[in-house]
Amino acid sequence: MIEFRNVHASYNASVPVLKGVDFTIEDGAFVAFVGTNGAGKSTTMRLIDGLIKPDEGEVLIDGVPTTELRTSELAKRVGFLFQNPDSQICNNTVRDELMFGFKALHEEGPEAEERVAGIIELFGFDPDADPFLLNRGTRQLLALASIVVMAPQVLVLDEPTTGLDFRECEKVMDIVRTLHERGTTVVMVCHDMEIVGDFAEQVIVMNDGRVVDQGPTFEVLRRRETLERASLVPPQMVDLSLTLAAADARLAQAPVGRANTLDEMEAAVRAEAGKGAGVAEGAPVVELAAAPTAASQSRARVIPFPTARDDAAKQAAEQGGR
């Protein structure tokens, strides 16, 4: 669990970046932080990872203040994907990059080698390739892979899809989703509200160093006025739904006025028009899916790589065996 208690932070004491931030992220959650440049999102991520310490207040990871945890302990629990993969990559081959975390923690050995080999196969990397000669999307995947291979309990992603094309973005987010489904807590800063809507279960809105709204993804994303105060706009389908509801009061009560995803909106429009495939005029209105990511989850794939939960299970099994 990650807890922020009245956290104040700054890079230069005269310019406060966070001005009293409070939130709690439960184990296994998928939380997106949204807000404008300079709202304090990336600073919040750096506090979670212990890269910076609070000026006031406390950042707790599993109940322990980050100020009391050694960097190596934090690094085991929290994997951090930087906005720019070049801030992270520091080895001359893909294989060395993936081994780097194990070396830093003095955990080299057959198991580390096995994990690295598995990740290389999974991501389709050339193990001898020079990371700096790879294209941006592949470097981002390598940066992500170098974290995934360490199986952290918490994955912190600072703009994971910046600079990626659609396919690269899908690949990165498919992997993130699979990790989350297998128990990893995911904390993501993201400017792309479509991705936020597709993947996050909860959203925290930041503005001027403060949390101004938080809650289940589409509850937050449908509060247009709050988003506007933070200079944000909802994802397109939510925007369209709210726009239709504003244009016609009758639609505000209809599924069209409550649709959050593309599939929900399409079904709602067809039902409303009485022309949907197999939907007769006067048929009952479409029930909207309760889960916000129903549409995107249909594309989920099973990807076999280690997670913190796997490690814990393995450890428990080994202990049981002894």
């Binding site: 890079y11 807000g35 404008t36 440049n37 300079g38 709202a39 990336s42 906005q83 720019n84 294209n135 941006r136 999307g137 703009e159 910046t162 600079g163 990626l164 094309d165 659609f166 396919r167 690269e168 400017h191 509200m193 479509e194 200079s231 944000l232 706009v233 994802p235 397109q236 389908m237 925007d239 369209l240 726009t243 239709l244 244009a247 016609d248 639609l251 069209v256 593309l262 909106m265 399409e266 429009v269 067809r270 409303e272 028009a273 022309k275 495939a277």
Partner: protein, 279 residues
């Protein structure tokens, strides 16, 4: 005007051409959005417009690129950069100064802009980008998004006839991205600046661009008005370009005759389409 004729370019170390038989004419004052999958040739196309190829990257260059009457192969980069202002994908590689104001001043001073014009142009560019408050900041202390704004301000201050920007809003938040596109549109409409933007944010380009260019394997798959290009959402998805979701929604309704109007580019057009369907 920009005229690209039969352009093929192969980087020296590559076996395959990065650009293959490109033909494209862009009238003055046109706002062009270029997109495509990674490796489709988008950035190389920008290099062809600002003269980086063939002047900086060696390779085989066939055909011609003419910008404002200048053949990019026959003029040097200095002369070409008086006409074409560029913002690179890698912002850090573009920065030459350590202070924001100096970065914006650099081009103006080096291109011999009269000294009495310089302060007003710096003020205007910083104000246009909404970064007047960053004027005295160290560039190293800025976020990626702030650096992008500084790089764009430095180019806008030069008042180039052609602006070529490679992913200028990649690190910007939605509000800043929108304001950059509005600003670029204003330069195109009010100053007649030709704007060529490479971006993955197709929803923004669909909203602002006069022409969308979709690249695939070094060639041009589509080059037309946004609504015309976006009508092909299935094909675009096949080549790795995701349409705005409102476009996909309306295209699905068009596909089986539920809606008979054109492809839509933004939420307002989608609202009108849905209201027409439900009327």
């Amino acid at each position: 005007m920009i005229k690209i004729e039969n352009l093929t370019f192969r980087y020296r170390e590559s076996e395959e051409p990065a650009l293959h038989d490109i033909n494209l004419t862009i009238p003055d004052g046109t706002f062009v959005g270029v997109t495509g999958a990674a490796g489709s040739g988008k950035s190389t196309l920008t290099y062809a417009l600002n003269g980086i190829i063939p002047h900086c990257y060696p390779g085989d260059f066939y055909g011609s690129v003419t910008v404002e009457g200048k053949d990019t192969c026959e003029v040097n980069l200095t002369d070409l950069s008086c006409v074409v202002g560029s913002v690179c994908q890698d912002i850090d590689s573009q920065m030459v100064a350590s202070i924001v104001e100096d970065e914006v001043l650099y081009g103006l001073e080096n291109f011999g802009v009269p000294h009495d014009e310089i302060p007003a142009r710096v003020d205007q560019a910083l104000a246009d980008m909404g970064i007047a408050d960053l004027r005295d900041r160290m560039i190293a202390s800025l976020s990626g998004g702030q650096k992008q704004k500084v790089a764009i301000a430095a180019i806008l201050a030069m008042n180039p006839k052609v602006l070529v920007l490679d992913e200028p809003t990649a690190e910007l938040d939605p509000a800043s991205s929108l304001s950059v596109f509005r600003l670029l549109e204003r330069y195109a409409r009010q100053h007649g600046t030709t704007v060529v933007v490479v971006e993955q944010k197709i929803a923004l380009m669909a909203q602002f661009a006069d022409m969308l260019v979709i690249m695939e394997h070094g060639g041009i798959r589509y080059a037309a008005a946004p609504a015309e290009v976006l009508a092909h959402s299935d094909d675009l998805l096949r080549i790795g370009v995701n349409c705005p979701r409102v476009t996909t929604l309306v295209n699905r309704l068009r596909a089986d005759g539920v809606y008979a109007g054109p492809a839509c580019r933004n939420v307002e057009e989608a609202r009108d389409a849905v209201l027409e369907v439900l009327a």
